[in-house]
């Protein structure tokens, strides 16, 4: 019944890779099978019972007894990410950018910086990469434009900032941070949000900065097949084949705990390819795409946004911890593998609790993700195994 799980998987605690922890490895391998289930794409078949979940708690408790422990976890989107479809070059490129991003946040935390700064600057690296559906690499709307959503939340104060549908802001997470810090509001949208960004001196780019050939071709492909996408309820066309669904799963996000015990989370996205009517997904919605509360956890979501809003994914994880006194791992598993899956939603979260425990929970074939703990141990994962 014992199955070896590759040690490159982020769901394995990083300290397990160190030879001095051979005994720990031996003991923990007995729980790897359950841990493997945690991130399986079939929630019904593999959803463990409570006793199994409890067995796995300790393996993500990286910092529980650390003084001034800190940790950081990121995602670059979840979806049908299969090893068989991935070239080694592409995989290396994703891993390199995930590592570059998380090391930025790690260094901020190591030097005593705030989790908010770590989240923001880490996300900036992914926003500036064309690989992810955020910032530079954002997908195209039906109108051939790029409309960005982002949000950030401070677990210490419960302050939050968000922006939806901006078109000229180079780094949308910076706008979300500025909305939080420099306006009386939580959420700004559209041209108004663009104007606020200009007034605040954020970096503005021409809309064609966000043009990437790959994303534009995705839009063209979807438009070609659009007429076949009316479902049986005659709802308005959208997003029904696997390839198209994947087009909206490149959201980036980060959750971090700093040396002062403050949690923060942030999320940034271009939304869905071919989106229209000013569609807003979960990424800029506090409680759905992003949530942070020093009493519980910090969460960033990625996936089919409509379901994440309906399930209130990020806040529900926090509420389960606060009111049912369950661990982050149990809460994240329940919300993603049970509640979200039962609604029909797909995607995942990265989250971190007030003790620095980290979890990457998803019900898709893969999720780009990475973790670093206070010891500087790095783990990067893409697939579910």
């Amino acid at each position: 019944m014992i199955k070896l799980v590759p040690l490159t998987c982020s769901s394995i605690p990083i300290f397990m890779k160190k030879p001095i922890h051979i005994l720990v490895i031996t003991l923990l391998l007995f729980s790897c099978k359950e841990k493997g289930k945690l991130i399986d794409s079939n929630p019904q078949e593999n959803y463990p019972d409570k006793s199994e979940i409890e067995k796995t708690h300790h393996i993500t408790s990286l910092n529980k007894e650390n003084t001034n422990g800190f940790s950081i976890i990121i995602h670059g989107g979840a979806g049908t990410i299969l090893r068989k479809n991935m070239s080694s070059e592409k995989e290396a490129a994703y891993k390199a950018t995930l590592e570059e991003a998380i090391r930025v946040g790690y260094n901020i935390l190591k030097n005593g910086g705030s989790s908010l700064d770590a989240v923001q600057k880490t996300i900036n690296v992914m926003e500036d990469s064309p690989l992810f559906n955020a910032g530079k690499g954002a997908v195209f709307t039906n109108a051939g434009t790029n409309e960005h959503d982002a949000s950030i939340m401070d677990g210490k104060t419960l302050n939050a900032g968000a922006s939806a549908g901006t078109t000229i802001v180079k780094n949308p997470i910076n706008l979300a941070r500025t909305v939080m810090d420099r306006s009386p509001h939580v959420m700004l949208s559209g041209n108004g949000a663009n104007s606020f960004a200009k007034e605040q001196g954020l970096q503005i780019v021409e809309p064609d900065y966000f043009y990437t050939e790959k994303r534009y071709k995705s839009l063209e492909k979807i438009k070609e097949t659009e007429t076949s996408q009316l479902d049986h309820d005659n709802k308005v066309a959208a997003f029904y084949d696997e390839d198209i669904k994947n087009s909206k799963f490149g959201t980036v996000g980060c959750a971090a705990l700093d040396k002062n015990g403050n949690l923060a989370a942030g999320t940034s996205t271009g939304g869905m390819t071919n989106k229209r009517w000013g569609r807003i997904g979960d990424s800029p919605i506090i409680g759905a795409g992003t949530y942070a509360n020093n009493n519980t956890c910090a969460v960033s979501s990625t996936g089919w946004g409509e379901y994440f809003i309906r399930a209130m994914v990020a806040h529900d994880i926090s509420a389960l911890m606060a009111y049912k006194n369950v661990s982050l791992q149990e809460a994240a598993k329940d919300v993603i593998q049970n509640k979200l899956s039962n609604l029909g939603g797909t995607g995942g979260v990265v989250a971190i609790d007030k003790n620095g425990n980290m979890v990457a929970e998803f019900n898709t074939a893969g999720m780009y993700r990475a973790t670093m703990n206070a010891k500087g141990e790095l783990a990067i994962g893409i697939y579910k195994d």
Copy 2:
């Protein structure tokens, strides 16, 4: 220690007004003092301990033992609503419109209609009145326009729909319903949402339909004083005096339980007077302004939206019921009088649980509100006493 509470207060169950229930009145007066505290504006001083809360549970249990019981509760905004500032004509006008609105929903429910239809049609009446900050009576933005937000949620399916920043849709709650029923999305915004409304054949009006002299004067007044509104952190100006705060407290909302046991909630608003930068408040945010779940409750919020988003007011009430097994009344009190108040937020909610129990909880001086139960008993309230 026993204090008489006026029987016109909506927090008193309606059957108490009937002479045939003298004995019930006598018994229940013993719990009126605690009930009075429920809606007091000073949460710190008057927040009852758990034993006191429990004493008051039964007095809102209007339908617990009814077969096919149903009920409906509405609000027309919360804020510094004081009897001394209200003319009898104005008070009569508010009460008449609240009654007209709730009777529309009541009749739908009585005839076996859905809670979703009851919520939508009830809100339509308030949207069509110039009295409330929604639809016809919406406040003006900084640009002299009217931008409407709305949301609706179905407790049976957890489907939801929302629209933000529309300018030409006569009844924004109808757009939210149509987003839910006829699009693959939960939330649309701005011109895109306007376009969707047109495509779907919703009633479109010229922007000047939303002009009311009273609201326009409010905008002018605020603009005159705006330069004095930079706070000590040098944040961007907004909304700091009592009069201005009140300008954003006219949101309307409704929660209903139908004969089939399905809960629904909806909210509609013009947002804040003088809002800019495409500000989005809590009204169109599922989990903040609106939430419904057949397993727990249906909630509609009104108040200072930024705080309602940060506190995830509507979803938090549901989560407390689901995970802590507390009553609707306890959950609403905890979130409004404790959590929201501790953040500095002001406003309130109307909510209804799966047994038809209703609660109007607020930490402001008043909230326009009304309830009807399956017996057709109506209660209307404005002030906290």
